[in-house]
């Protein structure tokens, strides 16, 4: 029996994915769970394992092609079976929330409703100088897997002829709006309200009714010996959209503090080898995270989100860590960072960074962040002015830690000492956070780091 390989649902609210690369050619044999293709989606890039043993008989979605979730992208025939028997055997876990799909494929459900996913769609943090996820959560339908053929689901995704026309003309993805009609159907009023809202739309393109933003003159470069033109990758497009959207959403202000890292540098040197023996690389970052977590507890408005009418204070302290990749950026999230000690944070950071670089992150790994840390100092930069990772309201940039001559006040008088200094910059959303609060928060972070009272 042939097995369909489908574009997996790589996270709630993800509607489509792009085939980046086929790892197998037609005619090659594959084993179940062997990497079959690489895909790229709004939130993560991932390798998709084969759902079955057999021979890859047909590649339907070519490299570079973007298809909807659950679209069949290839077929695998069982050993010894003729190609193209086409029996509909969707063994691929179409609704699995994460890649890779579970090794044992669930039996093909003819129609049953898959279990709802546990978490509402949270905008995926992406990397620094980071990027807002495009969605405003309250506008969004938390896309739980549903039976695509049910009346409810057709109402929700197809709405009505009128709404489809408006959506098409204005590039709005109605499946991502929360409708007020029957079965959550998006009504005319819903879509018109959505397009009139001042908050940016869920789709990258502004609605036609919006004032066009002034754009630089169109490029006039032609491909030729002096110019090379390449299409943008999915990730690059998303980063571009997220960055611009954040700049349009928040009132960015950056405050810069010089912080003495000498005490934690000592701690780090003392414990580095012991940590290495336990399989963790000890960097400055876990110390910074612990300081941040303590600061966020004292200043909950910085661990928050907002819309036009309300502030949403987050109880969880989920710290996103921007990771630079050769092909872009991504922001995996250390969940409940306040519950981890320095060792736990170190391991979590190492693990997320490693999986980010090997495309093994699951959508859950990049969702739910409430504050983000980025590291513009990694190549020696003094400090950066990062872009807020929407819908968060602040992001910390950690500059390079460098030994400098510093005037230190002692009882015996001022002396010049060699200290490990670092510049921390906090970009905050001035719509919600005033400068005084941001500076008090930063002063608190500085005090914690400089005191060096960490338990290792």
């Amino acid at each position: 029996m042939a097995t369909d390989v489908v574009m997996p649902q790589m996270g709630e609210s993800i509607a489509e994915g792009t085939v980046v690369r086929w790892l197998k050619k037609v005619g090659e044999t594959v084993e179940r769970d062997e990497p079959l293709l690489e895909i790229s989606t709004d939130k993560v890039d991932a390798e998709i394992p084969s759902p079955a043993n057999g021979t890859l008989t047909e590649i339907i979605a070519q490299e570079g092609q973007t298809v909807g979730v659950n679209t069949v992208v290839a077929r695998i025939a069982a050993q010894g079976e003729a190609a193209g028997t086409g029996a509909p055997a969707a063994t691929s876990p179409a609704t699995a929330p994460v890649a890779p799909p579970p090794p044992v494929a669930p039996p093909p459900p003819p129609a049953p409703k898959p279990a709802p996913q546990p978490e509402a769609a949270a905008p995926a943090p992406q990397p620094e100088p980071s990027n807002p996820a495009p969605e405003q959560p309250r506008d969004l339908e938390s896309a739980q897997p549903r039976d695509p053929d049910s009346l409810d689901e057709r109402r929700r995704t197809k709405s009505s002829p009128l709404v489809r026309k408006i959506a098409q003309e204005n590039n709005v993805d109605i499946t991502r709006l929360k409708g007020s009609g029957v079965s959550g159907r998006v009504t005319k009023n819903d879509i018109l309200d959505f397009m009139q809202r001042p908050t940016p739309p869920a789709t990258p393109q502004p609605p036609a009714t919006e004032q066009p933003t002034p754009r630089p003159p169109a490029m006039t470069f032609a491909a030729g010996e002096n110019n090379r033109i390449e299409p943008l990758s999915v990730m690059r497009k998303k980063i571009a959209q997220h960055m611009v959207l954040s700049k349009q959403t928040s009132a960015h202000v950056t405050t810069v503090f010089e912080v003495d890292f000498t005490n934690i540098d000592k701690l780090r040197r003392q414990h580095k080898d012991a940590y290495a023996e336990r399989g963790a690389k000890l960097t400055f970052l876990p110390f910074v995270i612990q300081a941040i977590v303590a600061g966020l507890r004292e200043f909950p408005v910085i661990n928050a989100s907002m819309d036009e009418s309300s502030v949403i204070y987050h109880r969880d302290l989920n710290i996103g860590i921007a990771v630079a990749l050769d092909w872009g950026l991504i922001v995996p999230v250390v969940k409940n960072a306040d519950e981890k000690n320095i060792l736990g944070l170190s391991k979590a950071i190492n693990d997320l960074g490693e999986r980010a670089r090997t495309k093994k992150l699951s959508p859950d790994d990049v969702q739910g962040g409430t504050f983000t840390i980025t590291n513009p100092g990694i190549y020696g930069g003094l400090f950066g002015t990062p872009i807020i990772n929407q819908p968060q309201v602040a992001i910390l940039g950690v500059g390079g830690v460098k030994k400098r001559p510093v005037v230190v006040e002692t009882k015996e008088g001022d002396v010049i000492a060699i200290r490990s200094m670092c510049i921390l910059s906090l970009t905050f959303d001035h719509r919600l956070i005033d400068g005084a609060v941001a500076d008090q928060f930063m002063a608190r972070i500085r005090a914690i780091i400089e005191a060096g009272q960490f338990t290792l």
Binding site: S159, P161, L162, G181, V182, T187, K188
Partner: protein, 324 residues
């Protein structure tokens, strides 16, 4: 200004047209000496004599046949059905003979067939017909169904002056219930032109005949909830004002078609189809029809009330569409 009933508006239209044009005459059962079963032609035989107000035997086919023959000879007859239900007896004469005349032999057959239609008066299955759908699919006929005294008078004059056979459906429930001040001067209401009775933005009710008042009531009730309903009185069924329908649907995106005849195969089906064909992209909800049940009109008053469309049925349909 005195008010004129819907019934008197019809009589005045006939009288004024007969005074204006000697070719116009009235023919039907008891239209003369008795003045009509509903007194629609009361006093007319006194003014115009029995040559122009003609009592006939009980034979609808004879009435329509005589009228059609007279029309072909240059007259402008008005043929009355005592109840519009009995037009079925003259169906052959009307649809095969009169309606096709212009197309068969190039001679128009300018007759008006008029008579009391509709339910709500405990008339039972023989005296409650709404016949429009029976004639919509017979090209060559025009069909009008006024709901106001103004339209009854203006449309009847337009029908008499029209060169084609016109089926004039007058609603007997409205005869004496509707009174309006009418213009003193001569006027017509053009055939094929709808009237927007009430302008609105959230929902359109397309209707005609006595149902315009049901639509008004429902619209007033919905207005209390802040819902803006547009009520379109089609007035003419064939030809109908497609432009008015499509414009309204384009504006409100939600539409109810309300008619008193039974649902299945009713005139509403044609309007719904036309909207689906030409305004599909403007629909934000299904097209909804509110109509009578698919049974002969019951004689029992409670059953008749159950069978007919009413305000609550329209409200239920409207609320369903508004929540869709």
């Amino acid at each position: 200004m005195p008010e004129t009933t819907y019934l008197d508006a019809i009589r005045e239209a006939m009288i004024e047209e007969m005074r204006r044009d000697p070719r116009v005459f009235l023919i039907g059962e008891d239209v003369g000496i008795y003045g009509g079963a509903f007194k629609t032609s009361a006093g007319m035989i006194e003014e115009f004599g029995e040559e122009r107000v003609i009592d006939t035997p009980i034979s609808e086919v004879a009435i329509v046949g005589a009228a059609s023959g007279a029309a072909l000879m240059g007259m402008r007859p008005i043929a009355e059905m005592q109840f519009i239900d009995f037009i079925t007896v003259a169906y052959d004469m009307l649809v095969n003979f009169a309606a096709t005349s212009r197309y068969r032999v190039g001679s128009p057959c300018p007759i008006v067939i008029r008579g009391p239609a509709g339910g709500g008066t405990h008339g039972g299955p023989f005296h409650s017909l709404n016949p429009e759908a029976m004639f919509m699919n017979r090209p060559g006929l025009k069909i009008v169904a006024p709901g106001t005294a103004y339209d009854a008078k203006g449309l009847l004059k337009a029908a008499i002056r029209d060169d084609d056979p016109v089926l004039f459906i007058e609603h007997k429930y409205l005869y004496r219930r509707i009174k309006e001040e009418l213009p003193i001067e001569d006027y017509i209401v053009p055939i094929g032109k709808a009237n927007v009775r009430r302008s609105g933005s959230d929902l359109t009710i397309i209707t005609w005949g006595s149902m315009i008042y049901v639509a008004d009531d429902a619209a007033a009730e919905l207005a209390k909830d802040g819902v803006s309903v547009e009520v379109i009185d089609l007035r003419s069924i064939i030809p109908f004002d497609e432009e008015a329908i499509l414009n309204s649907v384009a504006k409100t995106n939600r539409v109810i078609i309300l008619h008193e005849a039974p649902l299945t195969g009713g005139a509403g089906a044609e309007f719904a189809a036309r909207i689906a064909e030409k305004a599909f992209d403007y629909l934000d909800a299904p097209i909804k029809r509110v109509a009578a049940l698919d049974v002969p009109t019951p004689y029992s008053p409670p059953l008749e009330a159950f069978y007919l469309p009413n305000r609550d049925k329209v409200l239920a349909a409207a609320r369903e569409l508004l929540a869709y």
